[in-house]
């Protein structure tokens, strides 16, 4: 087994997901299949190779630090499921 049910449960917590027992069982099996498959990368020697994170990278996309038009506070808040006139609201933390 590449991944255990407990590991999947832990990863789900890190990703802020609940999984039901049935989901957990199915996901564990599917993740195991996928992780076993990607194991084939081990066949390749990559020791001296740099990683590629962007195939065509643009270095330092700078612009002048000027104030430009942006969304109003009202527009930004309008999409939120719960907000006051000036803030996003979340369940009590403290």
């Amino acid at each position: 087994m590449k991944i255990s049910r407990e590991e999947v449960e832990h990863v789900a917590h890190l990703a802020r997901l609940h999984l039901s027992d049935a989901e957990l069982q199915k996901m564990t099996a599917q993740l195991d299949t996928i992780l076993s498959y990607v194991q084939k990368l081990e066949e390749l020697d990559t020791v001296s190779l740099p990683p590629t994170t962007h195939a065509f990278s643009v270095c330092n996309a700078f612009r002048e630090d000027e104030v430009q038009e942006s969304l109003s506070q009202q527009e930004s808040l309008a999409c939120s499921p719960q907000h006051t006139e000036e803030m996003f609201q979340v369940p009590r933390i403290i």
Binding site: A12, A15, L31, V38, H54, A55, P81
Partner: protein
């Protein structure tokens, strides 16, 4: 011929000559939608009234002598491009009520050229899939054969264009999501070079791979759409500042002097003989037109699925962390703590495929596994990139199948994600290498399913792709609109 069957170029000609109006053209598409949408199921959001208003405005613009490149053309966009005031769901329940306060740059550009937006079309949830079956709202069918997938993730775009519900559409391609549905639905699809088209306002899936591109009924329209959407955008830091040619001037039926490479790894076991036959026929068309055919090798092709299904989920797990029920989208209102609210919202909002990829990605990036999975995959990505660099020393363009088989039945492999992932093997490398790729209709299977031919070129050589595609199209013909029955 009904008006909805026109290409963009054909419709523009008729409108400019005063033979038809945009209102008539748009109404023809809306009637077509009324007639076939029950079977095609491409639209998540349809804005009939708004479309007719925009068509009226386009007609008025034309009368006053101010017509843009798409003035009065009925279009759709994949439901992951933000449209100001029009719901943008990304095919996910978590965004079912999201109405963006701004337009994506590409949408802004379509509108600036007078394009008439009919609505937003279906897709796999967060563009994660190859069949559009993970869409939370509607699952499109292949207009050429009911009960068969339209492909994915831009399945709604491909189905709508092939069925005549719109003249062209915009999709996005992270591992083949434009080229594969275009191939399965018998239309032309283009994934531009990474950085050629702005992604501002595109809901992010895997940021080092995502690219926006057109799905059209012929190659000329594809060039036209790329002229409109391409080019530098300061609002996308990965957008490349580089002069853009007029892609319409690449439309010449002449491939003399061009070297067309056949990557041997793309013609392997498991390739459907009918698909291979169509591609071989395409190669002959180019040979007869004067192209030089050369054999090339992309030796690490067999590893691309493994690389992709680590890198794409890793980036997705990070990108999708933003769906926390706070700023936009749905929220589970019953939770009494912040963590519970996050978990409840995300668990209800995301579907199974999205959860699966978030889990793979989180795992591949987690402490202790990062080097073995994410870093290793990124290093093999370098090998895949080098494969292409070497191949392009010997040829100007690569020709191959797009998918190993024509469209398959809906519901197949739904519980076997790896089997579906493996069907992406021929399209994924272009995203890993950031190169442009295209799917052009090549023919049909005995069952009446379309089969596409894939062209891939070096960075920023969309012009070469269009030239070869145009020559192929002249030799093979276009598929036209599906009857839908």
């Amino acid at each position: 011929m009904d008006l909805y069957e026109l290409t963009i170029a054909g419709a523009m000609e008729k409108m400019r000559a005063g033979e038809i109006s945009s209102v008539e053209l748009t109404q023809s598409c809306l009637d077509r939608i009324e007639q076939v949408e029950g079977s095609v199921r491409a639209f998540i959001t349809l804005d009939q009234e708004g479309a007719l208003e925009r068509a009226q405005v386009a007609d008025a613009m034309r009368r006053s002598g101010r017509d843009g490149l798409l003035c009065g053309i009925p279009l759709t966009v994949k439901d992951l491009l933000c449209t100001k005031g029009m719901r943008t769901t990304c095919g996910s329940k978590i965004l079912e009520n999201f109405i963006p306060p701004y337009d994506a740059t590409v949408v802004e550009r379509l509108k600036a050229q007078g394009g008439v937006l009919l609505g937003k079309v279906a897709m796999d949830e967060f563009a994660m899939g190859s069949t559009s079956e993970s869409c939370a709202f509607k699952i499109p069918q292949n207009p050429w054969k009911m009960g068969y997938v339209a492909g994915g993730s831009s399945g709604g775009s491909a189905a709508a264009v092939a069925a005549g519900e719109c003249l062209a559409s915009l999709g996005s391609d992270t591992g083949g999501s434009i080229r594969q549905p275009a191939s399965l639905c018998g239309i032309v699809g283009l994934k531009p070079t990474y950085g050629r088209v702005s992604r501002y306002g595109l809901v992010a899936f895997a940021s080092s791979l995502d690219q926006v591109g057109p799905l059209c009924r012929d190659v000329r329209d594809c060039a036209l759409m790329l002229n409109v959407i391409g080019g530098y955008d300061p609002r996308d830091s990965t957008s490349v500042h580089r002069e853009m040619p007029d892609y319409s001037s690449a439309l010449v039926e002449d491939v003399r002097g061009l070297r067309v490479g056949i990557p041997k790894e793309y013609f392997v076991e498991g390739l459907d003989p009918e698909v291979e036959g169509v591609v071989r026929k395409g190669i002959n068309v180019l040979r007869e037109a004067g192209a030089e055919i050369v054999d090339v090798s992309l030796p690490h092709t067999d590893y691309c699925v493994a690389v992709y299904y680590l890198i794409a989920p890793a980036e997705a797990s990070s990108n999708l962390a933003r769906y926390d029920g706070v700023h936009y989208g749905i929220r589970d209102m019953n939770a009494d703590s912040l963590i519970a609210m996050y978990k409840d919202t995300r668990s209800v909002g995301f579907g199974a495929e999205v959860k699966r990829r978030i889990l793979i990605g989180t795992y591949a990036l987690s402490s202790g596994y990062y080097d073995a999975y994410y870093k290793k995959a990124s290093q093999v990505r370098t090998m895949i990139l080098q494969d292409f660099q070497k191949a392009y020393e010997k040829c100007d363009v690569l020709i191959s199948p797009v998918t190993p088989t024509p469209a398959w039945k809906m519901g197949e492999n739904i519980d076997d994600p790896l089997a579906v992932y493996l069907s992406d093997i021929l399209t994924i490398s272009a995203n890993l290498a950031g190169i442009p790729g295209m799917s052009v209709p090549g023919g049909f299977s005995r069952d009446g399913l379309p089969i596409g031919i894939q062209l891939q070129g070096p960075h920023f050589r969309e012009d070469t792709l269009l030239r070869v595609a145009y020559t192929l199209e002249r030799g093979i013909g276009v598929a036209g609109c599906a009857k839908v029955c």
